[in-house]
Symmetry: C2
Subunit: 199 residues, 2 copies
């Protein structure tokens, strides 16, 4: 079955609508989605950026919020501009990575994005993560013990290094083999590529 | 008639496929295109950038060239990566601005982009500009005298200031009233907006 790797980060605004859409778009094309949480911090750091480009470049940031509102409205995705941006998604990314192994990862990812971009919650807050896990029938204590163990932390680091090696510089991104697509608006092109270039 | 302002700059890679597509996409929707040459240099300067972000951020630049090749192939637009990037489009922008008044502007714009991104020519070269004008049946001497006159230079400066005031931070961009859309990939959204929000 053709597949696409979907690279996302919780601090990335456009990763939110992408996460809500990707399974529908891919399954309509018969393509499997492999969810790849990674960390933008180290990727931005390698490019000399110490903050989100949407904060560094004010006019671009203002546009992004307006564009997000339009895109979410067009796609029927709830959206409320959060007061805090970007949020620290490190813990949530560690949990998400574990969840991908255990099968509840995509649901957790969507729950985290809704917490951030609909409910305005602080997604680095242990109580918020625990509540989201509980909502998925997961035991927060058991999950976070595994997710925050050195082995899982190292896996997230390695995945982030692989993202860089694949040429990623932002999120969301999609890869099909070595072929890179950047942005929620390139999702359809990436999935078409997966269909026409099965591995 | 509904209209969209199309903001482009000759140093902008994605402005090339946008310029080749915009009349077809707009006319299919019954929307008029108002071509707006402007200068990215001052707009980047206000954001603290002294070079193209595609040169400043190497990994992003590498991606852009691959993305351009894919996009042009998909749209049936010829494309050869130029050796020099970005090129200085100041003179060509002054000529294009004059051409918009005289009716041959859009053809000149497309000719300049083809010279840059198909034929690998230096578009700041007076002989290249003269040849492109000649190909459109224009007298290069008469045109450039008018285009490089202080009054026309000032009009381009004023247009660039208006771009900034409208919130532009890159090219190509589209505006419908105060509503801003950034990128070749937002063209369809901008034109839909023009249709649903006639002035």
């Amino acid at each position: 079955m053709a597949s696409v790797e979907f690279w996302f980060e919780f601090a990335s605004t456009y990763s939110y609508p992408a996460s809500m859409r990707v399974e529908d778009v891919a399954s309509a094309a018969g393509v499997e989605v492999i969810w790849r949480p990674f960390l933008l911090g180290p990727v931005f750091g390698k490019q000399g950026l110490t903050d989100s480009p949407f904060n560094v470049f004010e006019q671009k940031g203002r546009y992004m919020w307006r564009d997000m509102a339009r895109i979410c409205a067009a796609d029927g995705i709830e959206f409320n501009k959060p007061e805090l941006f970007p949020q620290n998604g490190l813990k949530a990314a560690r949990v998400a990575l574990l969840g991908m192994e255990e099968g509840w990862g995509p649901d957790f990812v969507r729950a985290v994005y809704r917490a951030n971009f609909v409910d305005g919650l602080i997604i680095s807050d242990d109580a918020v993560i625990a509540r989201l896990l509980g909502g998925l029938g997961q035991d927060p204590g058991i999950v976070t013990t595994k997710a925050y163990a050195p082995e899982n932390k190292d896996r997230l680091k390695a995945q982030t290094e692989r993202a860089w090696d694949l040429g990623l510089f932002g999120a969301p991104s999609f890869t099909v083999g070595d072929e890179l697509f950047w942005g929620n608006d390139r999702m359809e092109a990436a999935i078409e590529w997966a269909v026409s270039h099965p591995s």
